[in-house]
């Protein structure tokens, strides 16, 4: 039987792969998650972004769908695709496909986009995530990512991003604090604050 979940969050910034998309300002977000019960899943999201050359925050919406399976050994794998669109800046719309493996506390994924952020760049993004449960409702987690531009005019040196943080869940609320860092400045992302290399990000999420 299908399961539908909704969560709403408030974060000190909308940070995506190490890059602030909301010019360092707090951002609200809404996510819808749907699990079919047979391995297929889909989700929709909406958030705030403040993009380059715009004077105001606008909306980012996204959708994804995929298929995930858990094997007898405990390892899982999945594949899927995402589509992201920006109100007021549809030129930055882009899509990605991904494949991943998942363990009990970790996952690794590889993403490919034929036109990353509408910049006419083919990109590969690889990430590794780890979450470690601590006593009771606490956890710490770490993330490492690398964006590699395959073609196009842009800089071919990979852009690395790192995050490390801790979170606490109590009831339907989840509070999270993390430190985010990137290896270099990159103007591939159409962000108003593309020259910010690191930041603290805190967020509070309510799940229903």
């Amino acid at each position: 039987m299908a399961q539908l979940a909704i969560d709403a969050s408030l974060a000190s910034d909308n940070v995506y792969r190490g890059i602030s998309l909301n010019d360092g300002d707090p951002a609200a977000a809404l996510n819808l998650n749907w699990d079919a019960g047979n391995g297929w899943y889909a989700a929709g999201m909406a958030s705030q972004v403040h993009l380059y050359r715009l004077t105001h925050s606008s909306a980012q919406v996204g959708a994804d769908a995929g298929y995930a399976v858990r094997t007898e050994s405990g390892l899982g794998w999945e594949f899927g695709g995402t589509a992201t669109a920006f109100a007021d800046s549809s030129g930055y719309n882009y899509g990605e496909v991904y494949a991943g493996v998942l363990g009990e506390h970790w996952n690794a994924r590889l993403y490919f986009s034929p036109d990353y952020f509408g910049r006419s760049e083919r990109t590969l993004y690889a990430e590794f995530n780890y979450a470690h449960p601590l006593h009771d409702h606490l956890r710490w987690f770490a993330h490492a990512g690398a964006l590699h531009v395959l073609s196009g005019r842009h800089d071919k040196i990979p852009l690395y991003d790192l995050a490390i943080g801790t979170g606490a869940r109590f009831g339907a609320f989840d509070l999270q604090v993390q430190w985010v860092d990137t290896s270099r400045v990159d103007y591939l992302y159409p962000a108003a604050a593309a020259d910010t290399r690191h930041a603290w990000v805190a967020s509070l999420t309510f799940s229903y």
């Binding site: 969050s9 910034d13 699990d35 899943y41 405990g74 987690f141």
Partner: protein, 411 residues
């Protein structure tokens, strides 16, 4: 840092310092007369989730969705939601619901099982330790005498083999068990695991240290013991467990990559536990269980396919036989007592599995045919019992030990 970030950080620090935020769940060990059911909801495989603020690697939205479904189910069927625990090994999220008096348990289980929102439902079952009172005293460890444990330990001590003991609480401070527990967890309630008699005896028989501080020697004194409290001491004579506490401990033991799971307990056939036993077997974990002498088929889980059943006397069902009478074993508080029952025969076999596995890690010991037993002569007393040395020799031909035929025997 922005002001909002600082405020959220302050809220997080409060959450860290206030464990009172933990939601209060009812103790699964309920009072007499209150029936509980277990309802299993599908737990999707972990997968990608969008997050405007990435870093949320937990399944918080999924858990909230299932909690909503469970609350609606409880309301629709007139029961009360109490507790839940994910079982990713089975792909289900297990919810405990209390049935009020006035509703027939069987009807509630049937209706919940038929509800399309559930994977399956079952009653909460109670399990009990299979120990009985000692009728007389013996001064020696029967297993040590039968298997010449000290000689055997020059060849193997079970080093590195992980044995999960699902039982009542183990006395981790007992001189015979100090430093022997790799894990000491409580799946019955939220306290530190207490020292209880059944679990302490089973753990001591399996793996008590072979040192000056211990007055008994465990069968596998260097095996890694995972003490998982899934049972509780209801009275001086009774140890109880239930489907939920055992399932939580099994889920942990499987993911902790135990090599052996020891279940010195018996009860009714249980769907949740049966599936977990199968999942353990699929991952190469050997489960050893005590035969229930009161049950014609040996009881559950001993009679479940793939489980190694152990008794202390010859039985009609295929089972290994090991000493189960008047075994000196550690007792809570630092002393020793003599224990009897198939519980402790099973504990001895779990220890022997570790001895074999240290030398032959891939030995297939799940079938009784892999084990060698003593012949009918010269000693009638030990006929049919497991011959540890011969079994070791069968599993690894490099062994040089002799099943010594002694004319003096406590048997």
């Amino acid at each position: 840092m922005t002001t909002l970030c600082a405020r959220l950080l302050a809220a997080w620090l409060i959450a860290w310092a206030a464990p009172a935020f933990a939601s209060a769940f009812a103790d699964p060990a309920t009072g007499a007369g209150e029936a509980q059911v277990l309802v299993m909801l599908h737990l999707p495989a972990p997968h990608y989730r969008p997050a405007a603020n990435y870093g949320s690697y937990e399944d918080a939205p999924g858990h909230a969705a299932r909690r909503r479904i469970a609350t609606a189910l409880a309301s629709a069927h007139g029961v009360t939601l109490e507790s839940d625990w994910p079982m990713p090994v089975l792909g289900v999220d297990c919810y405990v619901m209390r049935v009020p008096p006035g509703l027939a348990l069987a009807d509630v289980v049937r209706d919940l099982a038929r509800d399309p929102r559930t994977q399956w439902a079952q009653p909460m079952n109670t399990f009990h330790g299979l120990d009985r009172h000692a009728e007389s005293l013996y001064a020696l460890q029967p297993g040590a005498n039968l298997w010449h444990l000290r000689e055997l330990h020059t060849l193997s001590t079970g080093r590195g083999v992980r044995i999960a003991i699902l039982d009542s609480g183990v006395d981790a401070n007992h001189p015979a068990l100090a430093g022997r527990l790799s894990e000491d967890r409580n799946f019955v309630d939220a306290t530190d695991p207490p020292a209880e008699s059944h679990g302490t005896a089973v753990a001591g028989i399996i793996g008590a240290a072979a040192g000056d501080n211990a007055r008994v020697v465990g069968i596998a004194p260097q095996a890694r013991l995972l003490a998982l409290r899934a049972c509780w001491q209801e009275s001086a004579e009774q140890t109880l467990c239930n489907s939920f506490t055992l399932a939580k401990a099994m889920q942990f033991a499987i993911q902790a990559r135990a090599d052996v799971i020891n279940l010195s307990l018996g009860g009714p056939r249980d769907e949740l536990l049966a599936r977990l036993l199968d999942a353990a077997r699929a991952r190469g974990i050997l489960t050893v269980a005590a035969v229930d002498p009161q049950a014609p088929d040996g009881g559950f889980p001993a009679s479940h396919a793939g489980v190694l059943a152990v008794s202390d006397v010859a039985t009609a069902i295929p089972a290994l036989i090991a000493p189960g009478r008047d075994i000196p074993a550690p007792a809570p508080g630092g002393g020793y007592s003599f224990v009897s029952g198939t519980s402790f025969a099973a504990a001895e076999i779990s220890g022997l599995v570790a001895l074999v596995r240290q030398l032959a890690p891939t030995a297939a010991l799940g079938r009784t045919a892999a084990w060698v037993t003593f012949p009918a002569s010269p000693s009638q007393a030990r006929a049919g019992m497991v011959d540890a040395c011969a079994t070791l020799r069968k599993a690894t031909s490099a062994i040089a030990c002799a099943s010594v035929q002694s004319t003096h025997t406590a048997w």
